[in-house]
Symmetry: C2
Subunit: 392 residues, 2 copies
C-alpha cells in the first residue's frame, strides 16, 4: 500500500469516510470486470489487445490488464511512455502524431530496449523520423495514421501521401504499419451506428494497409480501436491489434451511447455536502470542476447528465440527483423534473460519477481504491492508493 | 531558478523553443502590470486587497503581489493554505464553505500562528466551528457567506439564519465578519452591468454586516470581490477588503466582458504543429484539453473563442486563427470566416491564450516564465520555472 502524504498511518483502518474531500475513487472490482469483458471480446475476434493507458495513467491499473509479463500498451504522452518503460513495459505505441522535437526522447527509449512505436500522417514527419533514425543508427518504428471518419489527424487510404510517407519510412527501415481511431464513434447514437463505425474503422485500416502492400511496402501492424468500436466490432479480419482505453473505468458518455451500464462505472469522486439552498432547490458540495473537470460530454447526448450523477458513499445511485453546476471548488446538486431534494445534512459524503473518466481522472494525483464486492455497513474500506503519471 | 525534472542544465540558454510541448508560460511583465492596476484601484477605493491565489497557486506569483512581507491572501483549498503558511503567509481566508471534517487541519494551522479564516452559511456549520473551537481551547475565525446574486452559496442579508449563525459564532468568540462574491458578474455584458454588479455586491455585504451589528454582534471584516467587480467598483464604503484572483493572469472570458484587453493575458500554452488537414481547413497541434482544460467559458459570450486564440511564439496574435476543437492530446486550429489558413509547417510552435486561466493553469505543474519586455529575434528566453500547489 502506498498512501499519499496527507494520509494518516497506513496501518489505521481507513475508509471512504476518512480522507479529506474531494478525492477520486476507483472500484477495483468494476475495473477487473470491464477488463475481462474486452479481453474476452478480443480473444473471440482473434486480435491482440493493446490497451491505451491514457485514461488511468496508472501502473497499478495496468497491472490488472495482464496476469504476468507486461502487455503491449498505447500511450498519449512521452511521460507515460517513460513511466511505463520504468515499470517494465517494452512494447509501447505513442499514438499522437510525432513532433520532431520529441525524437530525442523516443530514441532514448529505443536505446533502453523499449519498442517505442511512433505515429505520423505526413511525408514531412516521415522525413524527420527517417533522418533521425539514420543519424542515430537505429530505426524508429513508425505507423502511418489513417483517417477513417474525419475525426482529427490521419491520411485517407487513397491519399497519394500515404504511399509517399510509406516509402520514406521503408527506406530507413522504419515502417511498422497503419493505425486508425474511430473518434467520431463517441457521437454514435445506436447499436447499429456503433457496429457501422467499427466496420468502417476496420475497413479503412485494412484498405490503407492493402494500398501500401500493393506499392510493395511491408505492413506488419494494422491497429484499430476506440472504446465504442472495440465493443461493437464483429469482424476484424486483416486487423492485428485492437486499442481501447476508457473501458477500464467507463463513464457517463459511454453509458449514454450504450457501451456500458451505469453500474460498470469504476471511477467516481467523493465530495462532501457543505451547504443547502432550499430556495433554489440546490445542495452545495466541495467538489467543483477542479475535482470533476470541465467536461460536459453528455451535453450533446439524449440524456444530459450535467457534471455527473450522484450516488451514496457505497455507490448506490440517488435517483434524480444530478450535479448541475460547477465552480472551481463548489458543486451544485439538484433534482431532475422537480423531484424532491433528498435530506443530505452538512458533512454527508457522496460520490459523483463523471461524464468523461479521462478528464476527471486527470484532475487527481491518484485513486483511492475500494472493492465493491466487500460490502460493509460502514463506509467502504480503502484498499490502496494508486498514483497517476502526470505531465508530458 | 528551479527547473523541472525534464529540463536540461539550468546553465544552458533556454528559450520557449526548448522544452517539449505542451507547457504553460507566464509573462511576468503582464502579471506585474495586472497586479499594479488592481493595487492602484484598491488604494484609490480605500480598501485592503486580499488576492485570491487559486488562479496561479504559486508562491512565486504571490511574491509579486507585495514588496516585502507576505500580504493577506484568499485560498480555495487547505492545500493552498498549508503551502502558503509554509511560505510565511499568516493571514489566510479559506473561501469555501467549511466541511466539519476539515476542521482538524484548520486548527493545526491556527496552532502554527496562522490566522486561518473560515467561511460558512448555516447555523449547522456555525455549531461545528463553535464546538471545535471550544474543544480545542482556541477560536476558529469564521465569516458568514452572503449571497448577493444567487450564484451558489451564502445567506441573504434578510435570512433569519444570518443572525442565528452570528450568535452561535460570537458565543464562541469566532465571528470575524461577512464575505460575498459576485460570481454572476462573470456573465455581465456591459460596463454598466459590471458597475451595478459591483454596487450590488458592496451593498449586500454592508447590509448583512449592518444587520449583524443591529443584533449586537461585532463585525470586523466586510469582504467583497471578484475580478470583474473589483475592476468596476466605484464606491466601497463600509467594505474592509477586496478579493480577486483571476486578474493576475486574466483570460479570454475576462477580455470578453471587457475587464481586460487581449494584450493583458499573461498565461498561455505553448503547442507544436503536428499535422495539417487542408481538406478540412485544419491545423493539428499537440495541445489538447489535457493542456488547455475543457473550459469553454467564451461559448456563452458574444464572441466564442473556441478553446483559445492563437499567437506566435512571441505572443503576437495570428489573426482569425482559433483553437476550435480539442481531444486529450490533440488540438485543432482553424480560421474564422473562411480566412486563409496561415502556413505553419510541422514543428512550428504557437501559443494558445485560454478561455479560463484558473482551469488551464490547473492542467500544469507550473509555469515557464518569460518577460515580454525583453524582445529577441529568436524565441523568448525562459527566466525561471514556477511550481504550482496542487491537490486538496
Amino acid at each position: 500500500m502506498n498512501f499519499p502524504a496527507h494520509a494518516t498511518s497506513p496501518d489505521a483502518a481507513r475508509t471512504l469516510a476518512d480522507p479529506d474531500t474531494p478525492f477520486a475513487v476507483v472500484d477495483v472490482h468494476r475495473v477487473r470486470r470491464n477488463i475481462e469483458r474486452l479481453s474476452t471480446r478480443a480473444d473471440r475476434l482473434g486480435v491482440d489487445l493493446r490497451p491505451h493507458v491514457k485514461t488511468a495513467k496508472s501502473l497499478d491499473v495496468a497491472a490488472l490488464l495482464h496476469p504476468g509479463a507486461p502487455c503491449p500498451v498505447t500511450v498519449s504522452t512521452l511521460a507515460e511512455a517513460e513511466a511505463f518503460a520504468d515499470g517494465g513495459y517494452t512494447d509501447i505505441t505513442y499514438a499522437v502524431g510525432i513532433d520532431p522535437h520529441k525524437l530525442p526522447r523516443v530514441l532514448a527509449l529505443l536505446r533502453r530496449g523499449v519498442t517505442l512505436r511512433t505515429l505520423l500522417d505526413s511525408a514531412e514527419q516521415a522525413e524527420f523520423v527517417a533522418e533521425a533514425s539514420r543519424r542515430a543508427g537505429l530505426s524508429v518504428p513508425a505507423q502511418i495514421e489513417i483517417d477513417c471518419d474525419g475525426h482529427r489527424g490521419g491520411l485517407r487510404p487513397d491519399a497519394p501521401e500515404l504511399v509517399e510517407a510509406g516509402r520514406i519510412l521503408h527506406a530507413a527501415n522504419c515502417l511498422d504499419g497503419v493505425l486508425t481511431h474511430a473518434g467520431e464513434s463517441y457521437f454514435a447514437y445506436t447499436a447499429e451506428d456503433l457496429r457501422l463505425a467499427a466496420k468502417n474503422e476496420r475497413d479503412t485500416a485494412v484498405a490503407a494497409a492493402d494500398r501500401l502492400r500493393e506499392a510493395g511496402l511491408p505492413v506488419t501492424t494494422v491497429s484499430v480501436g476506440s472504446t465504442p468500436t472495440a465493443h461493437a466490432a464483429e469482424d476484424l479480419t486483416g486487423v492485428t491489434e485492437l486499442r481501447a482505453g476508457n473501458y477500464v473505468f467507463f463513464d457517463l458518455v459511454m453509458a449514454g451511447i450504450g457501451v456500458c451500464r451505469i453500474e460498470d462505472l469504476a471511477l467516481s469522486v467523493v465530495v462532501t455536502v457543505i451547504g443547502h439552498r432550499p430556495e433554489y432547490g440546490w445542495i452545495v458540495t466541495d467538489g467543483g470542476w477542479m475535482a470533476m473537470s470541465r467536461d460536459r460530454g453528455t451535453s450533446v447526448q439524449a440524456q444530459d447528465q450535467g457534471y455527473g450523477l450522484v450516488t451514496d458513499l457505497h455507490g448506490n445511485p440517488i435517483p434524480e440527483l444530478v450535479m448541475t453546476a460547477a465552480s472551481q471548488e463548489h458543486g451544485t446538486l439538484a433534482t431532475r423534473d422537480g423531484a424532491r431534494l433528498p435530506d443530505l445534512p452538512i458533512g454527508t459524503r457522496l460520490r459523483i460519477l463523471p461524464n468523461h473518466a479521462c478528464a476527471t481522472a486527470a484532475q487527481h494525483h491518484g485513486y483511492h481504491v475500494v472493492d465493491s464486492t466487500r460490502t460493509t455497513n460502514t463506509a467502504p474500506g480503502i484498499q490502496d492508493f494508486w498514483r497517476r503519471v502526470t505531465g508530458w
